[in-house]
Amino acid sequence: MLSSQIKSNEIVFGSCNKDLLEEIIFYGIGLGADFVEIFIENTDNSNVLAEEDFITSVSPSFGRGAGIRIFKEKKDGFVSTNDLTKHGLMRSISQAIEMLDITDNKREVFNGLNKHRDYSLPKKKWINEVPSIHEISEKLLVSTKSLKKNNKIITRKGSYSRNLQEVIIASSDGTYVSDIRLHQTVGLNVIASDTQYRSSGSRRFGSSGMPNEFRLWDHEKAANDVFESSMNMLYADYVDAGQMPVVLANKFGGVIFHEACGHLLETTQIERGTTPFENKLNKQIAHESVTAIDEGISEGSFGSLSVDDEGMEPEKSVLIKDGILKKFISDRAGELRTGHKRTGSGRRQNYSFAAASRMRNTYIAKGEHSKEDLINSISEGLYCKSMGGGSVGATGQFNFAVEEGYLIKNGKLTSPVKGATLIGDAKEVMPKISMCGDDLELAPGFCGSISGSVNVTVGQPHIKVDSITVGGR
């Protein structure tokens, strides 16, 4: 069961904790904090791994903890602990107060917590509705068996992960919220080999708040996709490096926008002075064909949430409209330090991180072109069907691996190529996205940043970038 049986004078999940939470917040405000926030979580997770035709790992885990954050003017102190007793929480807030060295006599007013907003009520049954380990194992084994399509496939893996997180959020502005979050992901990986040739293929699927989703997952389609990808790439030549036009496929192709541009629209980047877009609000930063959105409301999407980790309901934020920057992604600290209004984007991996402005479901909106229009418009270039991971440096330069790529010649896809990386700079590349397809699709992923690893969705339709540096051999 998710709700713990915990003795009195402690946080008890599934019960009213209002008195204890108010006492802690009163204590912090009384000692001079401008703002006090308490984030408490209880987790119940499972991971299952199938390799070849066997289950090789089943790893359940559970835990609980609290993160207490206080603000004094624009600085903040954050303390995390596994001790959810009154004593443990009081000790933590005392430590946070002491860290900030609060000495002035100015006192904020705390009028107690508002009426409890309980988003968890309809979700308490989820823990009983998610598939059992036995059911997961059976389906994973069927999936890895489906990958065994010829003797060139030398490694087959299927993995499943389920994270159930119960949270309580209370703060001195009266916020008092409870929620339950459920995330499930399933992935397939293969390695193909033939003499000196090697290739790999992988796909990951994920959902939030949908306990039945794994049962509906089309493992046969996924297996075919992974197999075909690895076979297509097995004998591929290395791509020649150079500047060229590229077409990026939909779904996970959106990872480039997420990494190269999305992060630069988080208020944490303004705080650091590391975004080139800081003073570009209402100015053209991208090609007029580009409209980009970050939201937390698409039902079942991996980055969706009922309420963010600061107790605010997520909004749909149009970040870029027809190439013009319209909004930044903001959390409480971002609003305090940069003036940009909160967008319901205060997120963290768990209680041991302070929330920060983070993306949720982030995508480029669909355009009016077909995929073929984009490819036909290129005489020599690269089609990036599947993207790997990437990174963005402190000055905005990005680098992304192309998992599955094909040369474009005279408007047609030709031979597969491997070893390609896309190299660029968001400020320079955004104006070069000249065509957007009509086939927007989303894909789940994990985003690691200042407040840990959070579930996100990336997405886009097929897009054309007029010119970008392609790294190769």
Binding site: P60, A96, I191, A394, V470
Partner: protein, 450 residues
């Protein structure tokens, strides 16, 4: 509860659940950290963490595992129960046992454990460091990524066969990443990281100097022509690439089919006879050293490449049994026990007559690319295929002058790289991930903007 009490608690709870065979690993830590922004405290953090991982063996000798942060009596019982349930799905094809070395003596270094200096002192030191870095050059406009932290932790391993070992340590870290800007030029950023047993061991001045020098040295930059170049890897960048392809030495990766090596690769010639590579977790310069691994096996020095030939693999208990050898102290406790290197040491062997010793990064006046730091390792390395394509910070040396390279990647194949090492300089340098000299490699592909 202290670690002895937790062991007793687990033992009693296991008895009550009729679980005869179990082991656990635990970590308890207290951390403090600070960040600053232009002289002001930005975020001050403290945490108390506890993580407990319990394995149990069922009557069929299959293993189940659970990890929890709840070490209350009820939490421990729940963890044992969950592990017992998970053991029904234990891997029948690869039996796991206790390490046969889990009771062997361990070598506990004089770790120079320090006392906490506290948040206020950390804040004062970091503020001063930020000011000095900002004042070190007029083009340095900010230090967007900075932090000073201290950590105090205890690690424990125990099992139902009577093995019990623990150690306590302290560690501090300082990182300073500066951002420099000049008119009509792209901003440039670089930094430095220093580790110590405690804050008093960290050479803050040298961290400031390194961060400043590295950042400023990249202010004047130029794009590089896409071509093949003679490469000199800095100690840090060579260690990065070796760690990225450490699956070559990893028995777990071999069994999983994701390594370039196979069971019969021992003795295979990988590189010049001049190359030796060791894994040496107990090296005196390794601040993060641990005297035992996740299965309680003592950490030890192990030769991975001897005179250019693959000499040993790193092992857990189960991979060692399959390979008919002994565990090497590289296991991480998990449902599927992981294997990873600790601290790589690269050196020039005595058989080094084939090296081109005229290639010295401080004196060679021919054209070459110096790779200072490799980035985006998680994205640009295909360890199972041996290929890499990685962005880097570095310089082009030409006609006796050097210029910072703007936005470029280096691409190649690890086997090609090892086989084409043309010089291993004599002086080793200590980095945060190991020790290595500068390494020269003939002809790798560089993609630039021009």
């Amino acid at each position: 509860m202290n670690s002895k009490e937790i062991t007793t608690q687990i033992s009693e709870a296991a008895d009550s659940l009729n679980l005869k065979k179990w082991d656990y690993g635990a970590s308890f830590s207290n951390d403090h950290s600070v960040q600053v922004d232009k002289g002001e405290a930005k975020q001050l953090k403290a945490s108390q963490k506890q993580i407990l991982t319990i394995r149990v063996w069922n009557k069929s000798n299959l293993v189940g595992i659970t990890t929890t942060s709840d070490i209350s009596e009820s939490g421990i019982k729940k963890a044992l129960n969950q592990a017992n349930i998970a053991s029904d799905f234990g891997n029948k094809n690869e039996i796991t046992e206790f390490s046969p070395l889990a009771k062997d003596p361990i070598e506990v270094k004089d770790t120079k454990k320090r006392n906490p200096v506290g948040i206020k002192k950390l804040l004062t030191l970091l503020r001063e460091a930020e000011v000095k870095l900002l004042e070190s050059h007029e083009s340095i406009k900010s230090v967007p990524y900075n932090g000073l932290s201290e950590s105090f932790y205890e690690r424990v391993y125990a099992n139902s066969d009577g093995a019990f070992r623990s150690y306590t340590k302290s560690q501090a870290a300082l990182y300073l990443y500066a951002r420099a800007e000049e008119k009509n030029k792209k901003p440039r950023s670089s930094g430095s990281v220093k580790l110590g047993y405690g804050v008093e061991d960290i050479d803050i001045e040298s961290c400031i100097k390194d961060a400043s020098n590295k950042t400023i040295s990249h202010l004047n930059y130029s794009s590089i022509k896409t071509d093949k170049y003679l490469i000199c890897f800095s100690p840090e960048s060579f260690l990065t690439i070796i760690n990225a392809f450490s699956s070559m030495f990893n028995a777990r990766s071999i069994l999983d089919g994701v390594s370039l090596s196979n069971k019969n690769s021992i003795g295979e010639k990988l590189s010049t006879e001049a190359l030796n590579i060791y894994d040496d977790g107990l090296h005196e310069k390794n601040i993060s050293s641990s005297p035992f691994d996740g299965e309680g096996t003592p950490t030890k020095r192990l030769c991975l490449i001897n005179k250019g030939r693959l000499e040993n693999f790193i092992h857990s208990e189960s991979t060692a049994r399959i390979f008919k050898t002994i565990p090497t102290g590289h296991a991480g406790l998990g449902s599927k026990v992981s294997v990873s290197p600790d601290w790589i040491v690269v050196e020039k062997s005595k058989k080094n007559s084939d090296l081109k010793t005229s290639l010295d990064h401080s004196s060679y006046d021919g054209e070459f690319v110096y790779i200072e730091e490799l980035n985006a390792i998680h994205a640009g390395v295909k360890a199972s295929q041996g290929s890499f394509s990685l962005p880097f910070d570095g310089w082009l040396y030409k006609n006796g002058k050097k210029i910072s390279i703007e936005s470029a990647t280096v691409a190649g194949d690890i086997k090609y790289l090892l086989k084409n090492i043309v010089n291993i300089e004599s002086n080793q340098e200590v980095t945060t991930s190991g020790i290595s000299p500068h390494i020269w490699v003939d002809e790798l592909s560089i993609t630039g903007d021009s």
